[in-house]
Amino acid sequence: MGMTIAEKILAKKGGQAKVGPGDTVTVEVDTVILFDNNFMPSIWREILKLYDPSRIIVTLDHRVPAPNQQAAAAHATCRAFVKRFGIKRFHDIGHDQGIGHQLVADHGYALPGSVLLCSDSHTCSAGVFNCLARGVGAPDVMYAATKGTTWYRCGETIRYELIGKLPTAVTAKDAFLQIAGTHGAHATQNVEYGGPGMASLSINARKTLTTMSAELSAEFATFEADETMLAWIRERNPSAKLEPVHPDKDAKYLAVRKVDLGSLEPLVALPDTVVNNSHPVKVAAGTRIDQAYLGSCANCTLDDLELAARVVKGRRVAAGTRFIVTPASAMVYRDAVRSGAIQALVDAGAMIAPPTCGACGGGHMGVLANDEVCITSSTRNFKGRMGEPSSKVYMGSPATVAASAIRGVITDPREFLN
Protein backbone atom coordinates (compact mmCIF):
# COMPACT_ATOMS: atom_id res chain seq x y z
CA MET A 1 0.00 0.00 0.00
CA GLY A 2 1.23 3.45 -0.91
CA MET A 3 2.27 6.45 1.11
CA THR A 4 1.31 10.10 1.30
CA ILE A 5 3.98 12.79 0.83
CA ALA A 6 4.67 13.11 4.58
CA GLU A 7 4.86 9.34 5.04
CA LYS A 8 7.28 9.02 2.10
CA ILE A 9 9.66 11.68 3.39
CA LEU A 10 9.55 10.18 6.90
CA ALA A 11 10.38 6.80 5.41
CA LYS A 12 13.17 8.12 3.21
CA LYS A 13 14.77 10.23 5.95
CA GLY A 14 14.18 7.59 8.59
CA GLY A 15 15.85 4.90 6.52
CA GLN A 16 12.71 2.76 6.43
CA ALA A 17 10.90 1.09 3.56
CA LYS A 18 7.49 2.16 4.80
CA VAL A 19 6.05 4.52 7.40
CA GLY A 20 2.39 4.79 8.31
CA PRO A 21 0.09 6.33 10.91
CA GLY A 22 1.08 5.38 14.44
CA ASP A 23 4.79 4.97 13.70
CA THR A 24 7.40 6.99 15.62
CA VAL A 25 10.41 7.60 13.36
CA THR A 26 13.87 9.02 13.98
CA VAL A 27 14.92 11.04 10.94
CA GLU A 28 17.96 12.83 9.65
CA VAL A 29 17.49 16.61 9.77
CA ASP A 30 18.77 18.53 6.74
CA THR A 31 18.17 22.09 7.89
CA VAL A 32 17.93 23.65 11.36
CA ILE A 33 16.77 27.23 11.79
CA LEU A 34 17.46 29.17 14.98
CA PHE A 35 15.93 32.56 15.73
CA ASP A 36 16.21 35.15 18.50
CA ASN A 37 13.87 33.37 20.91
CA ASN A 38 16.19 30.35 20.98
CA PHE A 39 18.85 32.59 22.55
CA MET A 40 16.77 33.88 25.48
CA PRO A 41 18.58 33.14 28.76
CA SER A 42 15.65 31.08 30.08
CA ILE A 43 15.88 28.71 27.08
CA TRP A 44 19.44 28.90 25.72
CA ARG A 45 22.21 26.55 26.70
CA GLU A 46 25.72 27.04 25.37
CA ILE A 47 26.30 24.63 22.49
CA LEU A 48 29.75 23.02 22.58
CA LYS A 49 29.62 20.98 19.38
CA LEU A 50 27.46 21.25 16.27
CA TYR A 51 26.64 18.19 14.21
CA ASP A 52 27.17 20.14 10.99
CA PRO A 53 27.39 23.96 10.94
CA SER A 54 26.53 24.03 7.24
CA ARG A 55 23.01 22.78 8.04
CA ILE A 56 22.29 25.73 10.36
CA ILE A 57 20.48 28.95 9.46
CA VAL A 58 20.15 31.76 12.00
CA THR A 59 17.84 34.77 11.88
CA LEU A 60 16.75 37.52 14.22
CA ASP A 61 13.05 38.01 13.63
CA HIS A 62 10.66 37.83 16.57
CA ARG A 63 11.71 41.05 18.33
CA VAL A 64 13.82 43.11 15.99
CA PRO A 65 15.39 45.56 16.43
CA ALA A 66 15.83 44.78 20.15
CA PRO A 67 12.99 46.54 21.99
CA ASN A 68 14.52 46.04 25.46
CA GLN A 69 17.70 44.94 27.21
CA GLN A 70 16.62 41.30 27.51
CA ALA A 71 16.10 41.04 23.75
CA ALA A 72 19.39 42.84 23.16
CA ALA A 73 21.17 40.28 25.35
CA ALA A 74 19.56 37.43 23.40
CA HIS A 75 20.69 38.97 20.12
CA ALA A 76 24.24 39.32 21.50
CA THR A 77 24.23 35.65 22.56
CA CYS A 78 23.06 34.78 19.05
CA ARG A 79 25.86 36.73 17.37
CA ALA A 80 28.46 35.10 19.62
CA PHE A 81 27.13 31.64 18.66
CA VAL A 82 27.25 32.49 14.95
CA LYS A 83 30.81 33.76 15.25
CA ARG A 84 31.99 30.79 17.32
CA PHE A 85 30.82 28.24 14.76
CA GLY A 86 31.27 30.31 11.61
CA ILE A 87 27.60 30.02 10.58
CA LYS A 88 27.41 31.33 7.02
CA ARG A 89 23.64 31.67 6.66
CA PHE A 90 23.15 34.33 9.33
CA HIS A 91 20.41 36.88 8.69
CA ASP A 92 21.21 39.69 11.08
CA ILE A 93 19.54 43.11 10.89
CA GLY A 94 20.43 44.53 7.50
CA HIS A 95 20.12 43.69 3.84
CA ASP A 96 19.17 40.03 4.25
CA GLN A 97 17.13 40.04 7.43
CA GLY A 98 13.58 38.76 7.71
CA ILE A 99 11.10 36.47 9.37
CA GLY A 100 12.58 32.96 9.23
CA HIS A 101 9.80 31.36 7.17
CA GLN A 102 9.92 34.23 4.67
CA LEU A 103 13.69 33.82 4.35
CA VAL A 104 13.13 30.13 3.57
CA ALA A 105 11.02 31.25 0.62
CA ASP A 106 13.25 34.19 -0.38
CA HIS A 107 16.38 32.05 -0.52
CA GLY A 108 15.10 28.62 -1.52
CA TYR A 109 16.32 27.09 1.72
CA ALA A 110 13.70 24.32 1.92
CA LEU A 111 14.25 21.58 -0.60
CA PRO A 112 11.69 19.03 -1.76
CA GLY A 113 11.94 15.79 0.17
CA SER A 114 14.13 17.28 2.90
CA VAL A 115 13.52 17.72 6.64
CA LEU A 116 13.57 21.29 7.98
CA LEU A 117 13.37 21.92 11.73
CA CYS A 118 12.77 25.08 13.74
CA SER A 119 11.07 25.85 17.04
CA ASP A 120 8.70 28.43 15.68
CA SER A 121 5.26 26.87 15.42
CA HIS A 122 4.75 28.15 11.87
CA THR A 123 7.68 26.15 10.52
CA CYS A 124 5.14 24.10 8.56
CA SER A 125 5.29 27.09 6.17
CA ALA A 126 8.21 25.37 4.41
CA GLY A 127 5.87 22.56 3.40
CA VAL A 128 4.99 24.71 0.38
CA PHE A 129 8.29 23.46 -1.05
CA ASN A 130 7.30 19.79 -0.74
CA CYS A 131 9.48 19.66 2.35
CA LEU A 132 8.84 17.95 5.70
CA ALA A 133 8.71 20.80 8.20
CA ARG A 134 6.86 21.53 11.43
CA GLY A 135 7.35 23.42 14.68
CA VAL A 136 9.18 21.65 17.48
CA GLY A 137 10.30 22.68 20.97
CA ALA A 138 13.45 24.72 21.58
CA PRO A 139 15.18 21.69 23.16
CA ASP A 140 14.42 19.70 19.99
CA VAL A 141 16.34 22.38 18.05
CA MET A 142 19.35 21.91 20.35
CA TYR A 143 19.12 18.17 19.84
CA ALA A 144 18.92 18.39 16.05
CA ALA A 145 21.70 20.99 15.89
CA THR A 146 24.06 18.88 18.01
CA LYS A 147 23.07 15.35 16.96
CA GLY A 148 21.64 15.80 13.47
CA THR A 149 18.37 13.92 14.05
CA THR A 150 14.93 14.24 15.60
CA TRP A 151 11.84 12.07 16.10
CA TYR A 152 8.39 12.47 14.67
CA ARG A 153 5.12 10.61 15.22
CA CYS A 154 3.34 9.84 11.97
CA GLY A 155 -0.34 10.67 11.91
CA GLU A 156 -3.09 10.20 9.34
CA THR A 157 -3.11 12.52 6.33
CA ILE A 158 -6.02 14.66 5.14
CA ARG A 159 -5.77 15.60 1.48
CA TYR A 160 -7.15 18.90 0.15
CA GLU A 161 -7.87 18.89 -3.59
CA LEU A 162 -7.76 22.50 -4.76
CA ILE A 163 -10.11 23.12 -7.69
CA GLY A 164 -10.56 26.18 -9.90
CA LYS A 165 -9.39 29.74 -9.34
CA LEU A 166 -9.93 32.35 -6.62
CA PRO A 167 -12.31 35.20 -7.54
CA THR A 168 -11.08 38.80 -7.49
CA ALA A 169 -10.52 40.14 -3.97
CA VAL A 170 -10.49 36.62 -2.55
CA THR A 171 -7.18 35.19 -1.34
CA ALA A 172 -5.50 32.05 -0.06
CA LYS A 173 -6.09 33.42 3.44
CA ASP A 174 -9.83 33.21 2.79
CA ALA A 175 -9.34 29.66 1.49
CA PHE A 176 -7.58 28.81 4.73
CA LEU A 177 -10.32 30.43 6.82
CA GLN A 178 -12.84 28.35 4.88
CA ILE A 179 -10.94 25.14 5.70
CA ALA A 180 -10.46 26.12 9.36
CA GLY A 181 -14.06 27.19 9.68
CA THR A 182 -15.51 24.07 8.11
CA HIS A 183 -13.17 21.37 9.34
CA GLY A 184 -11.68 22.81 12.53
CA ALA A 185 -8.69 21.25 14.24
CA HIS A 186 -6.65 18.59 12.47
CA ALA A 187 -4.79 17.57 15.61
CA THR A 188 -2.37 14.65 15.06
CA GLN A 189 -3.07 14.83 11.31
CA ASN A 190 -0.94 15.86 8.37
CA VAL A 191 -2.50 17.98 5.65
CA GLU A 192 -1.53 17.51 2.02
CA TYR A 193 -2.43 20.10 -0.62
CA GLY A 194 -2.73 19.36 -4.32
CA GLY A 195 -5.21 19.20 -7.14
CA PRO A 196 -5.70 21.04 -10.44
CA GLY A 197 -6.43 24.38 -8.74
CA MET A 198 -2.96 24.41 -7.26
CA ALA A 199 -1.58 25.80 -10.51
CA SER A 200 -3.72 28.92 -10.12
CA LEU A 201 -2.11 29.75 -6.78
CA SER A 202 1.19 31.60 -6.60
CA ILE A 203 3.93 30.29 -4.34
CA ASN A 204 3.11 33.13 -1.94
CA ALA A 205 -0.53 32.07 -1.87
CA ARG A 206 0.35 28.42 -1.30
CA LYS A 207 2.72 29.51 1.47
CA THR A 208 -0.17 31.21 3.25
CA LEU A 209 -1.95 27.86 3.32
CA THR A 210 0.99 25.88 4.69
CA THR A 211 1.94 28.58 7.22
CA MET A 212 -1.61 28.86 8.53
CA SER A 213 -1.92 25.08 8.77
CA ALA A 214 -0.25 25.38 12.18
CA GLU A 215 -3.54 26.90 13.31
CA LEU A 216 -5.27 23.67 12.35
CA SER A 217 -2.88 22.01 14.84
CA ALA A 218 -1.74 19.96 11.87
CA GLU A 219 1.48 18.00 12.08
CA PHE A 220 3.00 18.42 8.62
CA ALA A 221 1.48 20.55 5.85
CA THR A 222 2.94 19.66 2.47
CA PHE A 223 2.20 20.72 -1.06
CA GLU A 224 2.60 18.56 -4.11
CA ALA A 225 5.58 19.53 -6.20
CA ASP A 226 5.10 21.26 -9.54
CA GLU A 227 7.27 23.10 -12.04
CA THR A 228 6.25 26.51 -10.63
CA MET A 229 7.64 25.57 -7.23
CA LEU A 230 10.79 23.95 -8.62
CA ALA A 231 11.45 27.01 -10.79
CA TRP A 232 11.06 29.25 -7.72
CA ILE A 233 13.75 27.30 -5.89
CA ARG A 234 16.06 27.05 -8.91
CA GLU A 235 15.95 30.82 -9.34
CA ARG A 236 17.02 31.42 -5.75
CA ASN A 237 19.16 28.39 -4.99
CA PRO A 238 20.61 27.33 -8.35
CA SER A 239 23.00 24.69 -7.00
CA ALA A 240 20.34 22.83 -5.02
CA LYS A 241 19.55 19.23 -5.92
CA LEU A 242 15.81 18.91 -6.35
CA GLU A 243 14.20 15.53 -5.63
CA PRO A 244 10.44 16.13 -5.39
CA VAL A 245 8.30 13.61 -3.54
CA HIS A 246 4.92 12.68 -5.02
CA PRO A 247 2.23 10.77 -3.15
CA ASP A 248 1.66 7.22 -4.35
CA LYS A 249 -1.44 6.64 -6.45
CA ASP A 250 -2.67 4.26 -3.75
CA ALA A 251 -1.69 6.46 -0.79
CA LYS A 252 -4.18 6.12 2.04
CA TYR A 253 -5.81 9.34 3.27
CA LEU A 254 -8.14 9.67 6.22
CA ALA A 255 -10.21 11.96 4.03
CA VAL A 256 -9.95 13.69 0.65
CA ARG A 257 -11.74 17.04 0.60
CA LYS A 258 -12.32 19.36 -2.33
CA VAL A 259 -11.77 23.10 -1.99
CA ASP A 260 -13.64 24.94 -4.75
CA LEU A 261 -11.54 28.10 -4.93
CA GLY A 262 -13.98 29.82 -7.29
CA SER A 263 -16.83 29.57 -4.79
CA LEU A 264 -14.97 31.34 -1.98
CA GLU A 265 -15.68 34.81 -0.59
CA PRO A 266 -13.85 37.09 1.85
CA LEU A 267 -14.05 35.63 5.36
CA VAL A 268 -13.09 36.67 8.86
CA ALA A 269 -12.32 34.62 11.92
CA LEU A 270 -13.96 36.14 14.99
CA PRO A 271 -11.97 36.74 18.17
CA ASP A 272 -10.28 34.23 20.31
CA THR A 273 -9.88 31.33 17.90
CA VAL A 274 -9.25 30.53 14.26
CA VAL A 275 -10.86 27.07 14.23
CA ASN A 276 -14.61 26.68 13.66
CA ASN A 277 -14.96 30.45 13.82
CA SER A 278 -15.00 31.73 10.22
CA HIS A 279 -17.82 33.82 8.79
CA PRO A 280 -18.44 35.98 5.71
CA VAL A 281 -17.06 39.46 6.35
CA LYS A 282 -20.59 40.88 6.42
CA VAL A 283 -21.21 39.11 9.75
CA ALA A 284 -18.58 41.35 11.39
CA ALA A 285 -18.85 44.31 9.00
CA GLY A 286 -19.23 47.63 10.74
CA THR A 287 -17.29 46.56 13.85
CA ARG A 288 -15.08 49.49 14.80
CA ILE A 289 -11.36 48.74 14.79
CA ASP A 290 -8.54 50.52 16.62
CA GLN A 291 -5.80 48.75 14.70
CA ALA A 292 -5.42 47.01 11.38
CA TYR A 293 -2.32 44.83 11.05
CA LEU A 294 -0.80 43.61 7.81
CA GLY A 295 2.15 41.43 8.65
CA SER A 296 3.55 38.06 9.71
CA CYS A 297 4.99 35.00 8.04
CA ALA A 298 1.52 34.10 6.76
CA ASN A 299 0.66 37.27 4.89
CA CYS A 300 3.17 39.96 4.22
CA THR A 301 4.70 38.98 0.94
CA LEU A 302 5.01 41.26 -2.08
CA ASP A 303 1.64 39.95 -3.33
CA ASP A 304 -0.03 40.87 -0.04
CA LEU A 305 1.50 44.35 0.02
CA GLU A 306 0.49 45.01 -3.60
CA LEU A 307 -3.06 43.84 -2.92
CA ALA A 308 -3.33 46.10 0.13
CA ALA A 309 -1.83 48.98 -1.90
CA ARG A 310 -4.54 48.55 -4.56
CA VAL A 311 -7.17 48.87 -1.84
CA VAL A 312 -5.71 51.99 -0.19
CA LYS A 313 -4.37 53.82 -3.25
CA GLY A 314 -5.64 57.39 -3.32
CA ARG A 315 -7.36 56.94 0.05
CA ARG A 316 -6.49 57.61 3.67
CA VAL A 317 -6.62 55.41 6.75
CA ALA A 318 -9.64 56.30 8.89
CA ALA A 319 -9.11 58.70 11.76
CA GLY A 320 -8.79 56.79 15.02
CA THR A 321 -7.51 53.64 13.34
CA ARG A 322 -3.87 52.61 13.18
CA PHE A 323 -2.73 50.68 10.10
CA ILE A 324 0.56 48.93 10.81
CA VAL A 325 2.34 47.14 7.97
CA THR A 326 5.27 44.80 8.52
CA PRO A 327 6.92 43.45 5.35
CA ALA A 328 8.06 39.89 6.09
CA SER A 329 11.66 40.42 4.98
CA ALA A 330 14.06 43.13 3.84
CA MET A 331 13.90 41.61 0.35
CA VAL A 332 10.10 41.85 0.29
CA TYR A 333 10.33 45.40 1.64
CA ARG A 334 12.71 46.45 -1.14
CA ASP A 335 10.57 44.83 -3.81
CA ALA A 336 7.47 46.54 -2.41
CA VAL A 337 9.21 49.93 -2.41
CA ARG A 338 10.25 49.43 -6.04
CA SER A 339 6.77 48.36 -7.08
CA GLY A 340 5.15 51.43 -5.49
CA ALA A 341 3.19 49.42 -2.94
CA ILE A 342 4.97 50.94 0.06
CA GLN A 343 4.43 54.43 -1.42
CA ALA A 344 0.70 53.86 -1.72
CA LEU A 345 0.54 52.51 1.81
CA VAL A 346 2.50 55.35 3.43
CA ASP A 347 0.57 57.94 1.38
CA ALA A 348 -2.59 56.46 2.90
CA GLY A 349 -1.14 56.82 6.38
CA ALA A 350 0.06 53.31 7.13
CA MET A 351 2.97 52.93 9.53
CA ILE A 352 5.63 50.63 8.09
CA ALA A 353 7.38 48.53 10.73
CA PRO A 354 10.66 46.71 10.08
CA PRO A 355 10.57 43.05 9.07
CA THR A 356 9.73 41.34 12.34
CA CYS A 357 7.08 39.12 13.86
CA GLY A 358 6.29 42.17 15.92
CA ALA A 359 2.64 42.81 16.65
CA CYS A 360 1.63 39.28 15.63
CA GLY A 361 2.81 37.93 18.97
CA GLY A 362 2.01 40.98 21.06
CA GLY A 363 5.66 41.66 21.75
CA HIS A 364 6.24 45.03 20.16
CA MET A 365 5.47 47.14 17.08
CA GLY A 366 1.77 47.52 17.83
CA VAL A 367 0.59 46.09 21.17
CA LEU A 368 -3.11 46.43 21.98
CA ALA A 369 -4.52 48.24 25.03
CA ASN A 370 -7.51 47.15 27.14
CA ASP A 371 -10.67 46.54 25.10
CA GLU A 372 -9.05 47.53 21.81
CA VAL A 373 -10.13 45.78 18.62
CA CYS A 374 -7.77 44.75 15.84
CA ILE A 375 -8.17 43.06 12.50
CA THR A 376 -5.07 41.18 11.47
CA SER A 377 -3.61 39.26 8.55
CA SER A 378 -1.26 37.47 10.92
CA THR A 379 -1.45 33.93 12.19
CA ARG A 380 -3.31 33.92 15.51
CA ASN A 381 -6.13 35.64 17.35
CA PHE A 382 -6.03 33.92 20.76
CA LYS A 383 -7.25 35.91 23.77
CA GLY A 384 -4.42 38.25 24.73
CA ARG A 385 -2.36 37.30 21.70
CA MET A 386 -1.66 40.85 20.56
CA GLY A 387 -1.81 42.66 23.91
CA GLU A 388 -4.21 42.99 26.83
CA PRO A 389 -6.42 39.94 27.44
CA SER A 390 -9.48 42.17 27.05
CA SER A 391 -8.46 43.16 23.52
CA LYS A 392 -10.16 41.43 20.60
CA VAL A 393 -8.52 40.24 17.42
CA TYR A 394 -10.36 39.44 14.19
CA MET A 395 -8.52 37.77 11.36
CA GLY A 396 -8.88 38.47 7.66
CA SER A 397 -7.02 38.59 4.37
CA PRO A 398 -4.65 41.44 3.48
CA ALA A 399 -7.41 42.92 1.33
CA THR A 400 -9.94 42.77 4.17
CA VAL A 401 -7.42 44.26 6.59
CA ALA A 402 -6.60 47.14 4.20
CA ALA A 403 -10.27 47.83 3.45
CA SER A 404 -11.03 47.87 7.17
CA ALA A 405 -8.15 50.29 7.79
CA ILE A 406 -9.65 52.75 5.28
CA ARG A 407 -13.16 52.60 6.69
CA GLY A 408 -12.16 52.28 10.37
CA VAL A 409 -14.59 49.36 10.65
CA ILE A 410 -14.41 45.77 9.42
CA THR A 411 -15.12 46.04 5.71
CA ASP A 412 -15.60 43.69 2.77
CA PRO A 413 -12.67 44.35 0.40
CA ARG A 414 -14.90 43.88 -2.66
CA GLU A 415 -16.04 47.44 -2.01
CA PHE A 416 -12.61 48.50 -3.29
CA LEU A 417 -11.61 45.67 -5.62
CA ASN A 418 -13.54 44.50 -8.65
Binding site: T24, N37, M40, S42, I43, R45, E46, I47, L48, K49, N68, Q70, A71, A74, S119, D120, S121, R134, G135, V136, G137, A138, P139, D140, M142, Y143, T146, K147, W151, R153, G155, A185, A187, T188, S217, E219, T273, V275, G361, G362, G363, R380, F382, K383, G384, R385, P389
Partner: protein, 167 residues
Amino acid sequence: MKFKAKVWKVGDNINTDLILPITVFYETPEKQARMVFHANRPGWVDQMQPGDILIGGKNFGMGSSRPAARSLKNVGLSCVVAHSLNGLFYRNCINFAFPGLECPGVDQAFEEGDVAEVDFDAAIVRNVTRGVTVNGRATPPRLLDLLKAGGIYPLLEKEGLIAPKAS
Protein backbone atom coordinates in the same frame (compact mmCIF):
# COMPACT_ATOMS: atom_id res chain seq x y z
CA MET B 1 5.63 6.95 37.65
CA LYS B 2 2.45 7.17 39.70
CA PHE B 3 0.55 10.21 40.89
CA LYS B 4 -2.45 10.66 43.19
CA ALA B 5 -3.92 14.10 43.73
CA LYS B 6 -6.86 16.45 43.38
CA VAL B 7 -7.70 17.46 39.83
CA TRP B 8 -8.27 20.84 38.21
CA LYS B 9 -10.19 20.92 34.95
CA VAL B 10 -9.83 23.12 31.91
CA GLY B 11 -11.74 22.92 28.65
CA ASP B 12 -10.89 22.20 25.02
CA ASN B 13 -8.25 23.96 22.93
CA ILE B 14 -6.31 25.50 25.81
CA ASN B 15 -3.54 27.36 24.00
CA THR B 16 0.01 27.99 25.15
CA ASP B 17 -0.50 31.78 25.19
CA LEU B 18 -2.83 31.15 28.16
CA ILE B 19 -0.24 28.99 29.90
CA LEU B 20 2.76 31.26 29.20
CA PRO B 21 1.62 34.81 28.37
CA ILE B 22 3.69 37.11 26.16
CA THR B 23 4.15 39.53 29.07
CA VAL B 24 6.62 37.16 30.78
CA PHE B 25 8.16 35.70 27.65
CA TYR B 26 11.63 37.07 28.42
CA GLU B 27 11.43 36.46 32.16
CA THR B 28 12.87 33.62 34.24
CA PRO B 29 11.10 30.24 34.20
CA GLU B 30 10.04 30.90 37.80
CA LYS B 31 8.36 34.21 36.91
CA GLN B 32 6.73 32.55 33.90
CA ALA B 33 5.20 29.87 36.11
CA ARG B 34 3.43 32.51 38.22
CA MET B 35 1.47 33.64 35.16
CA VAL B 36 -0.12 30.31 34.21
CA PHE B 37 -3.78 30.85 33.20
CA HIS B 38 -3.56 34.53 34.09
CA ALA B 39 -5.99 35.51 31.34
CA ASN B 40 -8.56 32.75 31.74
CA ARG B 41 -8.31 31.70 35.44
CA PRO B 42 -6.58 34.53 37.30
CA GLY B 43 -5.55 33.49 40.81
CA TRP B 44 -5.46 29.78 39.99
CA VAL B 45 -1.70 29.61 40.66
CA ASP B 46 -2.41 30.56 44.28
CA GLN B 47 -5.25 28.04 44.67
CA MET B 48 -3.49 24.96 43.34
CA GLN B 49 -1.27 22.79 45.53
CA PRO B 50 2.02 21.13 44.55
CA GLY B 51 1.36 17.70 43.09
CA ASP B 52 -2.13 18.52 41.81
CA ILE B 53 -3.21 17.06 38.47
CA LEU B 54 -4.57 19.01 35.50
CA ILE B 55 -7.30 17.48 33.34
CA GLY B 56 -7.72 18.89 29.85
CA GLY B 57 -10.05 18.39 26.90
CA LYS B 58 -9.27 18.24 23.20
CA ASN B 59 -6.03 19.58 21.75
CA PHE B 60 -4.57 20.75 25.06
CA GLY B 61 -1.55 22.99 24.52
CA MET B 62 -2.39 24.15 21.00
CA GLY B 63 -0.60 27.10 19.44
CA SER B 64 2.87 28.45 19.95
CA SER B 65 5.94 26.35 20.70
CA ARG B 66 6.82 28.36 23.80
CA PRO B 67 7.93 26.25 26.81
CA ALA B 68 4.46 26.10 28.38
CA ALA B 69 5.01 22.52 29.61
CA ARG B 70 7.92 23.81 31.67
CA SER B 71 5.64 26.41 33.29
CA LEU B 72 3.12 23.71 34.23
CA LYS B 73 5.93 21.67 35.75
CA ASN B 74 7.35 24.67 37.61
CA VAL B 75 3.98 25.77 38.98
CA GLY B 76 3.93 22.40 40.73
CA LEU B 77 1.54 20.18 38.80
CA SER B 78 2.51 16.50 38.80
CA CYS B 79 1.11 15.85 35.33
CA VAL B 80 -1.50 16.80 32.73
CA VAL B 81 -3.99 14.24 31.44
CA ALA B 82 -6.06 15.35 28.48
CA HIS B 83 -8.51 13.94 25.95
CA SER B 84 -5.80 14.86 23.45
CA LEU B 85 -2.49 16.71 23.61
CA ASN B 86 -1.41 19.02 20.82
CA GLY B 87 1.54 17.44 18.97
CA LEU B 88 3.95 20.31 19.55
CA PHE B 89 2.99 20.64 23.21
CA TYR B 90 3.49 16.89 23.61
CA ARG B 91 7.06 17.25 22.39
CA ASN B 92 7.74 19.87 25.04
CA CYS B 93 6.25 17.62 27.73
CA ILE B 94 8.96 15.08 26.86
CA ASN B 95 11.61 17.79 26.37
CA PHE B 96 11.04 19.39 29.76
CA ALA B 97 10.22 16.15 31.58
CA PHE B 98 6.65 17.14 32.44
CA PRO B 99 4.44 14.03 32.26
CA GLY B 100 1.67 14.50 29.70
CA LEU B 101 -0.78 11.69 29.06
CA GLU B 102 -3.34 11.38 26.30
CA CYS B 103 -6.48 9.72 27.59
CA PRO B 104 -9.55 9.99 25.34
CA GLY B 105 -12.64 10.70 27.39
CA VAL B 106 -10.79 11.61 30.59
CA ASP B 107 -12.48 15.02 30.62
CA GLN B 108 -15.87 13.30 30.71
CA ALA B 109 -14.78 11.07 33.59
CA PHE B 110 -13.74 13.84 35.99
CA GLU B 111 -15.24 16.87 37.73
CA GLU B 112 -12.95 19.47 39.21
CA GLY B 113 -12.04 18.52 42.78
CA ASP B 114 -12.17 14.77 42.19
CA VAL B 115 -9.11 12.77 43.20
CA ALA B 116 -7.20 10.99 40.43
CA GLU B 117 -4.73 8.13 40.50
CA VAL B 118 -2.48 8.18 37.45
CA ASP B 119 -0.24 5.25 36.51
CA PHE B 120 1.72 7.12 33.89
CA ASP B 121 3.78 4.21 32.53
CA ALA B 122 0.75 1.96 32.14
CA ALA B 123 -1.37 4.93 30.96
CA ILE B 124 -4.23 4.14 33.32
CA VAL B 125 -6.18 6.88 35.08
CA ARG B 126 -8.61 6.17 37.92
CA ASN B 127 -11.18 8.57 39.32
CA VAL B 128 -10.94 7.62 43.00
CA THR B 129 -13.89 9.84 43.91
CA ARG B 130 -16.27 8.30 41.37
CA GLY B 131 -14.76 4.84 40.91
CA VAL B 132 -14.23 5.20 37.15
CA THR B 133 -11.13 4.05 35.23
CA VAL B 134 -10.04 5.38 31.84
CA ASN B 135 -7.28 3.95 29.64
CA GLY B 136 -4.87 6.28 27.89
CA ARG B 137 -2.15 6.06 25.22
CA ALA B 138 1.12 4.79 26.64
CA THR B 139 4.19 6.91 25.97
CA PRO B 140 6.52 5.21 23.45
CA PRO B 141 9.39 3.54 25.42
CA ARG B 142 12.16 5.73 23.96
CA LEU B 143 10.28 8.90 24.81
CA LEU B 144 9.37 7.60 28.28
CA ASP B 145 13.05 6.95 28.98
CA LEU B 146 13.91 10.47 27.83
CA LEU B 147 11.21 11.98 30.04
CA LYS B 148 12.31 9.95 33.08
CA ALA B 149 15.93 10.99 32.52
CA GLY B 150 14.91 14.64 32.87
CA GLY B 151 14.29 15.54 29.24
CA ILE B 152 16.64 16.79 26.56
CA TYR B 153 18.99 19.16 28.37
CA PRO B 154 20.42 16.59 30.83
CA LEU B 155 20.96 14.17 27.95
CA LEU B 156 22.84 16.71 25.82
CA GLU B 157 24.85 17.86 28.82
CA LYS B 158 25.83 14.27 29.64
CA GLU B 159 27.04 13.80 26.07
CA GLY B 160 29.18 16.95 26.25
CA LEU B 161 27.18 18.68 23.53
CA ILE B 162 25.97 21.56 25.69
CA ALA B 163 27.61 23.29 28.65
CA PRO B 164 26.22 22.91 32.17
CA LYS B 165 23.65 25.53 33.09
CA ALA B 166 25.27 28.85 34.03
CA SER B 167 24.49 29.69 37.65
